[in-house]
């Protein structure tokens, strides 16, 4: 059998094999999850701007500092990898480090934005992805939990099954 003949016959065989050209939809929750944090912060930042206009530069500096992402480099929760924990585990971790005033913002629905809702509660939900990027504002720590259908893990735990 001529090798070239085999090559062309294999190519013809594979070309006739059934296959789908349209790939599956990609989950884009990580993008949306990250976008959610600035939305949460919008009223806080607005208050900060108003206060700064009234009280001067020193107050501005204080407020800006107070809304620092606590998981950023140099901040108290740097390297905590909260996104790898369940919400109750994250709550226990935070409590052990003095973060007792935590607002849990729970995102539900699906990643396409259908029938979704956002609620803020004082107790950690039982399940859902803890979205990286916790924010400390006015002494409260804001944690976002993504329970949307089709959501995926983020940060250092992208392959984590939904807790």
């Amino acid at each position: 059998m001529d090798p070239d003949d085999l090559d062309s016959r294999l190519a013809a065989l594979e070309a006739r094999a059934p296959g789908r050209d349209d790939p599956p939809e990609l989950p884009r929750s990580r993008r949306r999850g990250l976008l959610a944090t600035p939305l949460v912060l919008a009223p806080v930042l607005l208050l900060a701007l108003v206060a700064s206009a009234a009280a001067g530069g020193a107050v501005v500096a204080t407020l800006v500092q107070s809304t620092e992402g606590v998981q950023n480099p140099g901040q108290p929760l740097e390297g905590a990898n909260l996104e790898c924990m369940t919400p109750p585990e994250a709550a226990a971790y935070l409590a052990a480090r003095g973060f007792t005033d935590v607002v849990w913002q729970v995102e539900t629905g699906d990643i396409e934005g259908k029938a979704g809702s956002t609620v803020q509660v004082a107790t950690p939900p039982d399940h859902g992805y803890v979205v990286p990027g916790a924010i400390l504002s006015d002494g409260k720590l804001y944690m976002v939990v993504d329970q949307r259908t089709g959501a995926t893990g983020g940060g250092t735990c992208p392959d984590l099954p939904m807790p």
Binding site: L10, G19, R20
Partner: protein, 180 residues
């Protein structure tokens, strides 16, 4: 036949100059992922159909591989996106076959393929006689031009093993097709 294909995994062997390479700056962007990886999805499903001998299993594995690739996109070395996607998919395919064997307790058999070329029905019959790894290695070498070394990196086996698979695969096909 040893050919001069492009790089494959692991990244340490990558040359990074192939037509399937991806710019480093686009690796956190889902749209960039779809643009770079999406065009390989159709050929991948056809390859998996031939390797697994079953279009439904092929589609399941292809979807799984595509989504896993997306989740690992930020870790892709940017070199040869086709080799990277095929490596993920073929490893999943072989795990898929192993699971079926373990749980069903039966020999996994490929199905008769109504899509084979009516003018060349013997080829599929001969290919069905090869195990999945040999079939996959042969196709990667013959159709895609990957070298034995590159295929060895994809399957995490020694280069000599791949050479043996391809040599024996070709010999088996020659013998099978020669008898018909």
């Amino acid at each position: 036949m040893e050919t001069t294909g492009r790089l494959a995994l692991p990244a340490a062997t990558a040359e990074g100059t192939g037509a399937h390479s991806v710019a480093a700056g686009s690796r956190n962007d889902p749209d960039a992922f779809e643009a770079a990886v999406g065009p390989h999805y159709g050929p991948l499903t056809r390859r998996l159909t031939v390797v697994l001998g079953n279009e439904h299993d092929a589609e399941d594995v292809a979807q799984d591989a595509y989504l896993r690739a997306f989740r690992s996109w930020d870790r892709f070395d940017g070199a040869d996106v086709r080799a990277w996607l095929y490596t993920i998919a073929l490893r999943l395919a072989f795990n898929h076959v192993r699971r079926r064997r373990r749980w069903l307790g039966i020999l996994v058999r490929t199905e008769p393929a109504p899509w084979t070329d009516p003018s060349d029905p013997d080829l599929w019959g001969a290919l069905r006689g090869l195990d999945g790894r040999t079939r996959a290695a042969l196709l990667l070498n013959v159709l895609d031009g990957y070298t034995h070394r590159e295929i060895a990196a994809m399957f995490e086996v020694p280069e000599g093993t791949v050479a043996s698979w391809i040599s024996r695969g070709r010999a088996a096909l020659r013998a099978e097709l020669g008898q018909r």
